[in-house]
């Protein structure tokens, strides 16, 4: 896909993400497709994911910002809101999406999601939960074979 007719909004957001990165988040656009982002999220402190580095892929569809970005975890992660393929169940990516939201907001919401959603699960069955998490420890270095949004 050509990057020449890229909307000003995407250019502005990309520039801001690179110049003022959000804490614990690193996002950089792909060289061949500026709508495709390689994202790295650090496991939030005081959460079961502390110390982990998670890779995500983020793709901005043609209709963006009227349509939500498509995001997927490439690193395997044990989380009630994330399935085996790394697809995330998050309100702002579905019916609660608004064009006033952006890449930064979405990624910051992921950090919140991984910090707070699991508190109940973790408190009820801590040993079971940590065992499950340790199974995925090796997955922190997981390399994606192919990004399914890449064009």
């Amino acid at each position: 896909m050509a990057n020449s007719n890229l909307p000003r909004r995407i250019i502005k957001e990309t520039q801001r993400l690179l110049s003022e990165p959000a804490p614990g988040i690193s996002a950089s656009p792909s060289e061949d497709n500026m709508r495709y982002f390689n994202v790295m999220i650090l496991g939030p402190t005081q959460s079961p994911y502390e110390g982990g580095v998670f890779k995500l892929e983020l793709f901005l569809p043609e209709e963006y910002p009227m349509a939500a970005p498509k995001v997927r975890f490439l690193t395997k992660i044990y989380h009630p809101n994330i399935d085996k393929l790394g697809r995330i169940c998050l309100d702002i990516l579905k019916d609660k999406w608004s064009p006033a939201l952006g890449i930064r907001t979405v990624l910051l919401r992921y950090i919140c999601l991984s910090s707070f959603t699991l508190v109940d699960v973790y408190l009820k069955r801590p040993i079971h939960f940590l065992k499950k998490c340790s199974k995925h420890q090796s997955a922190f270095q997981y390399q994606p074979v192919h990004g399914f949004y890449k064009m």
């Binding site: 909307p7 000003r8 608004s98």
Partner: protein, 324 residues
């Protein structure tokens, strides 16, 4: 000088009788409440700490309804007068002549500026008055009912600082400021408006005797650029016209009036905000003068988009007509 006195002096100084906040009446209600609560001897120390309960029937039955009525009158009067003034200023030659014949155009250019200035002052001084009386309510009741009432009023669109006409009047004032105006008032309350650029982001600022500062951000949160052909939704948020149309899922041809009432504001997610949207023409003039290069560039891209949407609209109309 206490604000209450300053406010009453200002309101009495107005040539026309305008709706205002009944400061004395509302203070009387609060005093009455204070007396009632102090006459009831508290049984224990914990009750003594509070002057009045969180939900006070004495106040809630009279204080909030009367304040709400006053706020409605103030906003209604302000919007009506501002709309009239701007309609007069933006009118084309023939319409302007027609207005003049009807006797709407009193005085000259200077009178127009002065009236605009007076209206902005009227809006700001009433906003302060409302804020002060609600603070007093919360102080007496040790509650947050005043703040809660304020947020309810905002959702009802009866908050004067939320009015799109305030933004328009501020832009109008800046647009016509070249002419030096001698104020009719003895004391200058109003410091004036200014268009400022912080890190390339524009905003309209206005101050009233160090008590209130209105700061209106002029960056569209959809395209992240300076608003172009700005439109204010009924919730008070400002967007570019094209961006607002896209957010409302309507074409430029059909306009925002045809938007589904279920469509929400991208910022506050409030429903049914597109139908009563206001085109901010004075602000458009101001911004086109302030950032000409950007305006020219944006004008070209917008033209392409508009032509594309109009073409699509007529294609679909033709297909529907032919029955394809």
């Amino acid at each position: 000088m206490k604000f209450c006195k300053k406010y009453q002096e200002y309101m009495q100084g107005q040539e026309k009788k305008l709706p205002c906040v009944g400061f004395k009446k509302l203070k009387k209600i609060l005093k009455k409440c204070r007396r009632n609560s102090s006459s009831l001897k508290p049984l224990n120390a914990s009750l003594a700490a509070k002057t009045c309960p969180d939900h006070c029937p004495v106040c809630d039955g009279t204080f909030f309804p009367s304040l709400l009525n006053e706020m409605s009158d103030i906003v209604g009067c302000f919007n009506q007068r501002a709309q009239k003034l701007l309609e007069l200023h933006l009118a084309s030659g023939v319409r302007k002549y027609f207005f003049w014949i009807k006797g709407k155009l009193q005085g000259n250019h200077t009178a127009l500026i002065q009236e605009g200035k007076d209206l902005v002052t009227y809006a700001l001084i009433n906003a302060i008055a409302i804020r002060k009386i609600l603070k007093k309510y919360d102080k007496i009741h040790y509650s947050k009912q005043g703040q809660l009432f304020k947020s309810q009023v905002q959702s009802m669109h009866k908050e004067i600082l939320q009015s799109p006409w305030l933004c328009e009047l501020m832009a109008f004032h800046i647009n016509l400021r070249e002419t030096k105006v001698k104020s009719r008032k003895a004391h200058a309350l109003f410091d004036g408006c200014s268009l400022t650029f912080k890190d390339g982001k524009p905003s309209l600022t206005c101050e009233l005797f160090d008590s209130i500062k209105v700061d209106i951000d002029l960056t569209c949160s959809i395209c992240l650029d300076t608003v172009f052909d700005p439109v204010s939704l009924t919730c008070g948020h400002i967007f570019c016209y094209i961006c607002a149309c896209s957010a409302a899922s309507v074409s430029i041809v059909n306009g925002l009036k045809s938007a589904d009432p279920k469509m929400k504001c991208p910022l506050c997610r409030e429903g049914a905000v597109y139908e009563g949207a206001v085109r901010l023409e004075e602000l458009n003039i101001l911004l086109s003068r302030s950032c000409q290069e950007y305006w020219e560039q944006r004008l070209q891209t917008e033209r392409v988009e508009r032509v594309k949407q109009i073409k699509e609209h007529w294609d679909s109309q033709c297909r529907a007509f032919v029955g394809v």
